[in-house]
């Protein structure tokens, strides 16, 4: 019998691709439909933010941080201003701390809504994204009301926040908190028990706890493997230690579990927002800081639980008004590194499933 000649085939997934969440490039070697090898090419959105930081003053760089994780832009901005405050020893008024928590958790809700929608979209489910964006518009309306911008807000300032919450914010947030749990139940109903989703995601791309620790994974991807590590509980920043919320932890470490983590985190974020709105004290929203900020020479490393994982800022100051060095430790950059290992041995469609569940955002991956 004649033996069929087969050979491996190399396919480019991206950078122009509907499912790569921006310009991310994965090169896979295929034997039929099985992936034998994969490697990732990053850097299609490398804008050189770290070099730009060296030629901007501390206050001028704060708006750039919203362009790091633009799906929920307040979280990276919060991390940056807290880094500068830590370096200079600036105290933030109580009301500003509560406002920061409200906006940071709203940003987390906005980011996870995009995740749920685009996760389903990668499996060609067109309904959840319409519902998720309908609810995301409510959140963006609130950002518009408070910060003046929908997406890349620059509301977090060194020493507090830019301005106080307007009057019309409070009825809007109460209405949102009333309606949102039913909306989350809606996506839960469509997606969580869905046969197609379970078939494509359960048992796919399993990341064990040992692998996760070795690769330095953080965020919901880490908690899906069973390790309970959330910066908001481990090293609380701001006033997170005053709030009562749970950190969802999974067991299986596969794609389906990573999806479930984020849906559970949506519910917990709503709890935090409700507690913060109820406990909001009166007072000023910004401390007086000098017009030109010149920190003492020194360095600081501050990390926060951003939407995608642990976002770290390493800042070195030499006494002038511009940072000597700013390094941004992006969670997406570290979280996506084990993708070739997770993809190897699976099918080509599993590459898309695993990449969608890791939840990358190109802004903080490439900076």
């Amino acid at each position: 019998m004649a033996i069929l000649k087969t050979e491996e085939f190399t396919v480019n997934i991206g950078p122009q691709h509907p499912s790569t969440h921006g310009g991310f490039h994965v090169v896979v070697n295929l034997d039929g439909e099985t992936v034998t090898d994969a490697y990732c090419v990053a850097g299609y959105l490398h804008r050189g933010l770290e070099k730009i930081a060296e030629s901007r003053t501390y206050a001028q760089f704060a708006p750039y941080c919203a362009r790091l994780d633009y799906l929920g832009a307040q979280n990276p901005a919060l991390g940056y201003v807290q880094t500068v405050e830590k370096l200079m020893g600036i105290e933030v008024p109580e009301r500003a701390e509560y406002i920061r928590i409200i906006l940071a958790e709203l940003a987390r809700v906005a980011s996870h809504l995009v995740f749920v929608g685009s996760f389903a979209l990668d499996f060609n489910g067109w309904t959840p994204i319409i519902y998720c964006f309908r609810d995301r518009e409510k959140v963006l309306d609130m950002f518009d009301m408070v910060c003046g911008q929908r997406l890349t807000t620059s509301y977090m300032r060194i020493g507090g926040v830019a301005d106080d919450l307007p009057e019309e914010f409070f009825p809007a947030i109460r209405k949102f908190l009333d309606e949102m749990p039913a909306c989350i139940d809606e996506y839960d109903g469509i997606l969580t028990g869905n046969e197609i989703l379970i078939g494509r995601c359960k048992g796919v791309g399993i990341l064990t706890a040992e692998q996760a620790k070795d690769w330095g994974i953080s965020g919901p991807n880490l908690r899906a493997t069973g390790i309970n590590y959330d910066i908001r509980k481990v090293e609380p920043y701001g006033i997170y230690d005053r709030f009562d919320f749970e950190v969802p932890v999974g067991t299986a470490g596969d794609t389906y579990e990573r999806y479930l983590m984020r849906v559970a985190e949506l519910r917990q974020s709503l709890r935090i927002i409700e507690q913060a709105v109820n406990a909001l004290p009166e007072g000023p929203v910004r401390t007086k800081v000098p017009k030109v900020l010149k920190p003492e020479p020194g360095e600081v490393y501050h990390r926060i639980e951003s939407n995608k994982g642990e976002l770290g800022f390493y800042m070195v100051s030499d006494g002038s008004d511009k940072p000597y060095r700013l390094h941004i430790r992006g969670p997406s950059f570290v979280n996506v590194a084990p993708l070739p290992e997770l993809a190897r041995g699976g099918n080509i469609q599993d590459v898309i499933a695993v990449l969608a569940s890791i939840d990358i955002v190109l802004g903080e991956m490439d900076r």
Binding site: E50, K213, D214, G216, E296, Y301, H327, R329, V334
Partner: protein, 149 residues
């Protein structure tokens, strides 16, 4: 195995060109020579530092400094900052810690790409964020931007 930390020299966390002492805002960094780096890192991992959080480099006038931030997933109070100084600015070389933590893989490639520090023993030391034919290492202080605004 637990006495690795006491043997190292400890300095406060300030860049050396400052004259005023300043209160450190993070645990004091331990300065390590490149030759001893791998042994120190393996010792720290055995002590329970299983989380290599951040690996980056800074370009000071006299040397390059590669900074490692280490934490522990289980014992959440453990924090450690290790700094490795390389005097040779023309061809800086530091041993790679990929064999200790895999999370160093991409972060060392980024430092090589943007700062030009070579990590000996790295399985795949290529540029990661810039194109392969890019000339120069942009985060170095002597890199000339093309001046167009």
């Amino acid at each position: 195995m637990g006495n690795v930390e006491e043997k190292l020299e400890t300095t406060p966390a300030v860049p050396p060109e400052t004259k005023k002492p300043v209160a450190p805002v993070q645990p004091p960094a331990k300065i390590v020579k490149p030759g001893e780096l791998l042994k120190v890192m393996e010792g720290l991992k055995a002590e329970g530092y299983d989380y290599l959080n951040n690996l980056t480099a800074v370009d000071y006038p006299e040397y390059f400094e590669v900074v490692y931030h280490l934490f522990s997933y289980e014992e959440t109070g453990k924090k450690s900052v290790i700094k490795c100084r390389v005097e040779n600015k023309k061809d800086p070389q530091v041993p790679s810690v990929c064999s200790v933590w895999n999370s160093a893989n991409w972060q060392e490639r980024e430092v090589y790409d943007l700062m030009g520090v070579t990590f000996t023993g790295h399985p795949n030391l290529k540029r990661i964020l810039l194109t392969d034919d890019f000339v120069g290492h942009p985060l170095r202080k002597d890199y000339q931007l093309d001046g167009e605004v």
